[in-house]
């Protein structure tokens, strides 16, 4: 399911409209899309035990 309400295609260039403010631009150029095949590859890789990998940690253990 996609959050289409306010999502915008990256093909539409955006302009900084506030004059006088510095704008840092982070273009998304030439970065491949994540296809369903790539997603399956990520899912499979996540199931392979690895000792050399640091995984995301939420240090607060939820109490419920």
């Amino acid at each position: 399911m996609k959050n289409h309400v306010i999502n915008k295609p990256t093909e539409t260039p955006q302009q900084a409209t506030v004059a006088g403010k510095r704008v840092f631009k982070f273009p998304y150029k030439n970065i491949p899309v994540v296809t369903s095949e790539m997603w399956k590859q990520m899912e499979a890789a996540a199931r392979v035990p690895r000792k050399d990998r640091r995984y995301p940690v939420m240090i607060e253990v939820p109490d419920a």
């Binding site: 093909e11 982070f26 994540v34 690895r50 640091r54 939420m58 253990v61």
Partner: protein, 254 residues
């Protein structure tokens, strides 16, 4: 810059968003100050043009959990990373106080094909995320993640992904497979995963199991790629809102 809020944001997230923004933790650690971005010191009124919109420094800091006084480095990643992070636009964050040395947090935006010619930035992947357990105040992780999720929803992202680690057959130092689902992350079950548990035969996802028998998941669950569904009224939001509400009601969120 103001994002156009969804109806779901107005009815279910706005109040919490304001409370989180007003919290002492946010006003102490997530104000967008003292940040160095690829060697540059941003001004408070600078703007950040990402493929999903134009952000103020505070919005940028909340989306990527950039704590005050962090150094941030941007990277365009064109193929899978060493830890199987998908191609995307990543931000690596170092903070000598709050991020466990020598680690750096790393989060990035990635695009899914939309079934047509449009390219949609849909996801935020958490590649690395580890806070310093000695220096991080209680609940800061919860506050930072809730702000990240709310900002992601406002910006139109559909999901947040990460590898929830540990569990049966995996590195026992990690308990992410138990912790992240309690914050709303979910994943499909593997084939025959509940074959020995007839009372879970109806379950298709981790959240299905938690709703039926959470203790079973604690004892038998295991590592996998999980996602937090940022779309309106998702199971992920229900879990996260309940959890943060509980923290608030217990006075555990300064």
């Amino acid at each position: 810059m103001p994002f156009v809020p969804s109806n779901f944001y107005r009815t279910s997230l706005a109040g919490l968003h304001q409370r989180l923004q007003d919290s002492a933790l946010t006003r102490t650690y997530l104000t967008g100050t003292g940040i160095r971005l690829d060697g540059t010191t941003p001004n408070p009124d600078d703007l950040y043009e990402l493929p999903i919109g134009i952000f103020s420094i505070i919005e940028f800091a909340h989306l990527f959990s950039v704590f005050d006084n962090s150094r941030v480095h941007q990277q365009a990643q064109h193929s899978f990373g060493p830890d199987e992070a998908p191609p995307g636009l990543y931000f690596t964050i170092s903070n000598s106080h709050l991020i466990q040395h020598p680690n750096k947090n790393r989060l990035g935006l990635y695009a899914d094909p939309n079934g047509g010619t449009d390219l949609f930035i849909d996801g935020l992947h958490v590649d690395h995320y580890i806070l310093n357990e000695h220096n991080t105040p209680p609940s800061l992780g919860t506050v930072a993640f809730a702000l990240c999720a709310i900002m992601g929803h406002l910006a139109g992202l559909s999901h947040i992904s990460l590898v929830a680690a540990g569990g049966r057959g995996f590195d026992q130092r990690y308990i992410g497979y138990r912790v992240w689902p309690k914050l709303g992350f979910d994943a499909p079950l593997t084939q025959d995963e509940v074959a020995q548990a007839p009372h879970l035969a109806h379950c298709h996802t981790v959240q299905d199991i938690l709703a039926t028998n959470a203790e079973w998941w604690d004892n038998h669950g295991s590592q996998r790629l999980m996602t937090f569904d940022l779309t309106a009224n998702s199971t992920s939001w229900k879990k996260l809102l309940l959890y943060v509400d509980r923290k608030l009601s217990e006075g555990g969120l300064p």
